[in-house]
Amino acid sequence: MNSDISIVALSLQIALVATAVALPLGMFFAWLLVRKQFRGKFILDVLVSLPLALPPVVIGYTLLWLVGTNGWIGRLSESISGSTLAFTWIAASLAAAIVSLPLVVRSFAAALAGVDPRLEIAARGLGAGSVRTFLTVTLPLAYRGVIAGVLLGFVRALSEFGATIVVAGNIPGRTQTVPTAIFTRISAGDTDAAWRLALASVVLGVIALAIHNWLLKRTSATGANGSARANR
């Protein structure tokens, strides 16, 4: 049987890559939605929230058509490496990234909304470019949203099942994650093995939440939100 350690390791790999993709993308979309006005903004808002409203299997199936033999991503992959992305860990990461995106966007948007835009305007007025303003003024004031977004996105990516199983299958050693492995073990009647992995899931969740709390506590009071007093 596929060892528990290797299943957990693969799940972590997939979730980390998914979060690495969802984080910058999510922050960018959040910034657009909070700071910018443009035509079609409503559509962006809907698109970015859609994965929350769709059954994950639908997300998986749609992604499957994109990364399989009929989709442009699949054909691109085939021209580079000879095979499509369907049934690979990369497809699993993409699926996980899509389902975590709304969580990253919402967390960061909430934090961003609490940053006084006049501080950003002041920075720009003093000569800072938009990227520098974002990195040195906005981000430090909205860091709580980044932390929440990363952790929420990560644990969501780690627990994705429906989209993963449709677009990446459940191939032991290649695309079998903790949730899909638990499902296989339940189906096969391997109750002990299923509980072991379920316990691993709990441990991973607890660790993620502990890190989340630790990161938030590491606030220096002076780094607090610029438009309101930081209070505990």
């Binding site: 890559v17 910058p24 993308l25 499957l64 399989g68 033999t69 699949g74 691109l76 992959s77 580079i80 490496s81 000879g82 095979s83 499509t84 992305l85 369907a86 049934f87 690979t88 860990w89 990369i90 299958g169 459940n170 191939i171 032991p172 050693g173 290649r174 189906s187 096969a188 009647g189």
Partner: protein, 254 residues
């Protein structure tokens, strides 16, 4: 972002070419194939990866969804047809080398029954593989239809994703009865074989997949399993009927 993405694809999807063949196989073959792969690895030093499940589910993944299988072993004709229609069958197909039969099993505290009619009369839940996903279910339904019982018994049927999940349902006591392969029933001491469905034998469709990254390695493994006495013995002791491998998968007829 696009450059990063393309870079990740380029570096990491090539992993499938590390020479280890990926074999998609019926759930009913999981034990015997895993054991055969151990024997193969001890003998040749080469590894094999598996994905087990309902044969129709897997065949659909390979034929229509682009799953990267290098070789397959599926129960019955329907999954085989999917592979053939997709033009993916490499060389020949090892026909009628491995055969299975279908049995009705009982779990805990079950009233003994001797026929499908008894099964229908018992009004108890019966675990069966989903006929849309696994041939074990398709054949079970065929047998029920032949006995004219498909309508009356339909409320009692609990469909599972593959035949091993049906076995597990009976073992756990969640259903009193089940219809599975003989070989699945033999793996468990928590179920009892009540009777065999007559005149129903299920042949496994065994072949390499064309245009797969490791189809040669897959064929080597499949030929090994069907020809070597050690692995044939593994199948025989599990309850499969094993005939002479006249044509191995990929052999031009030798």
């Amino acid at each position: 972002m696009t450059i990063l993405f393309v870079g990740v694809i380029a570096c990491c999807s090539g992993k499938s070419e590390d020479g280890v063949p990926l074999i998609f196989a019926a759930a009913s073959l999981s034990d015997v194939l895993t054991e055969s792969a151990d024997i193969y690895e001890r003998d040749t030093g080469k590894r094999v990866d598996f994905s087990f499940g309902g044969s129709i589910t897997l065949a659909n993944q390979v034929a229509n969804l682009g799953a990267p299988a290098d070789g397959v072993l599926f129960a019955g004709g329907e999954p085989g047809q999917l592979i053939i229609k997709a033009g993916l069958m490499l060389g020949g197909n090892a026909q009628r080398v491995i055969t299975n039969s279908v049995v009705v099993i009982g779990g805990r505290d079950f009233p003994v029954i001797r026929s499908l009619a008894d099964l229908a009369l018992s009004n108890e839940r019966i675990a069966v593989a989903d006929p849309q996903l696994a041939p074990a279910g398709t054949y079970a339904m065929l047998a029920l239809e032949a006995a004219g019982l498909a309508e009356t018994i339909s409320d009692q049927l609990i469909f599972t994703g593959d035949v091993r999940a049906a076995l597990a349902a009976v073992e756990s006591g969640n259903t009193k009865y089940g219809i599975v392969y003989m070989t699945d029933a033999l793996t468990s001491n928590r179920v009892e074989i009540l009777f065999e469905i007559q005149d129903l034998s299920v042949d496994y469709f065994i072949t390499g997949i064309t245009e797969a990254h490791n189809s040669r390695a897959a064929q080597t493994f499949l030929n090994y399993v069907l020809i070597e006495s050690a692995t044939r013995e593994v199948f025989k002791s599990a309850g499969f009927e094993v005939r002479r491998a006249g044509t191995g998968p990929g052999d031009p007829g030798g």
